[in-house]
Symmetry: C2
Subunit: 395 residues, 2 copies
Amino acid sequence: MSRTERRTVRDLRRGHRAMLLRALYFGGPASRHDLCAATGLSAGTVSTLTADLLDEDVVIEAGQVDSDGGRPRVLLRVNPDHGYAIGVDVGETQVRVELFDLGMTERSGASYALHSARHDPELVVRHLLEGIDTVLADSGVPAERVLGVGVGVPGVVEAGPDALVHATTFGWHAVPFGALVRAGTSLPLFVDNGAKTMGQAELWFGSCRGVSDAVIVFIGSGVGCTIVADGAIYRGSARAAGELGHLKIAAGGRPCRCGGRGCFEAYVGAEGILDRAGITADSADQRPALARLLETGSPVLADTASLIGLGLSNLVHLFDPERIVIGGWAGLMLGESLLEPIRAATAANTMATSFPPVPIVLGALGADAVAMGAATLVVEEFLRGAQPAGAQATA
Amino acid sequence: MSRTERRTVRDLRRGHRAMLLRALYFGGPASRHDLCAATGLSAGTVSTLTADLLDEDVVIEAGQVDSDGGRPRVLLRVNPDHGYAIGVDVGETQVRVELFDLGMTERSGASYALHSARHDPELVVRHLLEGIDTVLADSGVPAERVLGVGVGVPGVVEAGPDALVHATTFGWHAVPFGALVRAGTSLPLFVDNGAKTMGQAELWFGSCRGVSDAVIVFIGSGVGCTIVADGAIYRGSARAAGELGHLKIAAGGRPCRCGGRGCFEAYVGAEGILDRAGITADSADQRPALARLLETGSPVLADTASLIGLGLSNLVHLFDPERIVIGGWAGLMLGESLLEPIRAATAANTMATSFPPVPIVLGALGADAVAMGAATLVVEEFLRGAQPAGAQATA
DNA sequence: AGACCATAATCTAAGCCTTGAAAAAAGTCA
DNA sequence: TGACTTTTTTCAAGGCTTAGATTATGGTCT
């Protein structure tokens, strides 16, 4: 039925302001003239809106470009120091906290190792809060300049103020993670699935820039994905969409740690691959073990490629994406040598049409994009609302 | 990155006008007062907008309701005779053409049988055009009151003016179906996959009314689905999304008519079920054959239920829908006796969370919803644009 | 019956917003 | 220095929504 909202004349301005900010954020430095072209707004409107943004210090000037015999255009860009965002990656082996400026330059970071079978929620939250203090102290950024904290966790995050997290790998069932964190900090908090935060990072700055329909597959110890539909991340009715890891690719197949059978993850997640090769590895040892397996070679790898292809073909048939991106530490590792076989297997399982095959590429941001993606949740909110910094104060 | 468009003050009015029309269309008869509540607009705005709509005869009065001691409210509703829409179902056994008024009451219909291996595009188009003439003549509706023709076809419809259709069951490869039809009529034309048109019918008037995230599964001779994301049908980058029939549920499994192996459709489409039961049936004979199979019973049926459950669990994990609807003639037939086993199999294959299980229900509109859904494509355009009927004439 | 009350719909003044055109600003080139 | 270019800013005009006042329409009470 399509969302339609009442709008007042003022909403126009708010919307245009956000458009302009977005254009500046993603379109790099641009002059007012460029912005007219980019947004379709008239020169007058751009002029008054940018004046506001400059006044509020959200946007700053960034040099000039002279134009063949005319008034030189003044370049504008988002002020990277107008605010900061903290991104947290709660992974299986560590909690990593990073502080970024608005330009997504990392200003400081801190890591806390997690030992297997020690994923106590309180411990994780303690690390997280300590990490926030540490990155603030190290970077010298005052807490009040931080726009918020984004966290990527390896599980399903339920909508709601408590951000209940279901993470089978951690043994977390309905852990009120958001509530626990909020008890220790008053910064605005955004919690999402780690595969989704990574996906948003690839969507904004990586292999999916400008793509409006895509699937970003995250292969680590387990498997997840981010579905990008019409340029936005699709989260489903209870924010649980994209559980690619538990897609069934064989009736009554291998048992999965979720309790089911035949899950995609049980075959092509790092743990599943190693297990199929007869190797048992602790979560901290899986990276080197998989690297060794790739070096020495194994018949399991060819199977892996063809099974991944099978899974990706399912994504192609259901979503018809413009592109598929493979990320996550294991995905990137596998991709280095297996990308071609994966492409071939996907094509072999995809129904022939007149369309060219869907491009399958590796993530551009490396294995550490989860924290950056988490920080983009904060920036996204900033770009959406983009309310004047001191709005409350002046009221 | 989310769609953002420049808007002028006038777009506000256009948008609000469309909102109001939508509210009236789906919210049945309503007073201006009700509309204020439904849309959030002020009384003044509703008053002037409805005055326009009444002037243009798009909306008419529909009686009064007295309010405990006050001026009675005047009910308004969309004028069903303001325009008409033609819906066409191009199926495997027949071409069915139906004419609806704006209230989706069928005014007249015509069918043309197709014989197997006689799915020549020109023949189909000839039937279709003849059907349009017939329903117009039978109903007495003049062609200029028809807002457009919607067509549901059993295959992938490529975006573009020619509406290239790829339908493996018909042996159609890149058939310029849209161009062929347009050569014979000047009515506005909308061509889409039949599973999607059926899905839209269920979304608007059937089992998915008011649901914003859902999957509507169409099981006929083959299998397809409609993905509803955020209240709108998701079509993917090349309008090829929702090819559920070719989801792979077993590596190297049963051969499918698409040329692949292990496709969902090869197991649970009517043809696949009958084949697994050792029955070969022409497309026209599949209905009675499946009915007989269901009467006599067969071990194949239990397998079918559990395989459907497996497939539906994949939809749950990937899309996290609020609801799953099963439709299509075979789906409705199977559902009568197998709905419980299907629900159980889906639940068994779905990862446990704290969420209640996804409701799985049968389509409410019967097996003939494809044509009605095709007609809704026309109405959808009418509700979106909703430009005054005589806009061009007055200009 | 008449005064009074309740609810619905319309009218009106005020405030915003965008636009397009004109004016101003800031250079280049001869 | 003056003519010409190109970018920005300024400003009047037109359109839209809103809140509140006003009119319309019927019930209820005495």
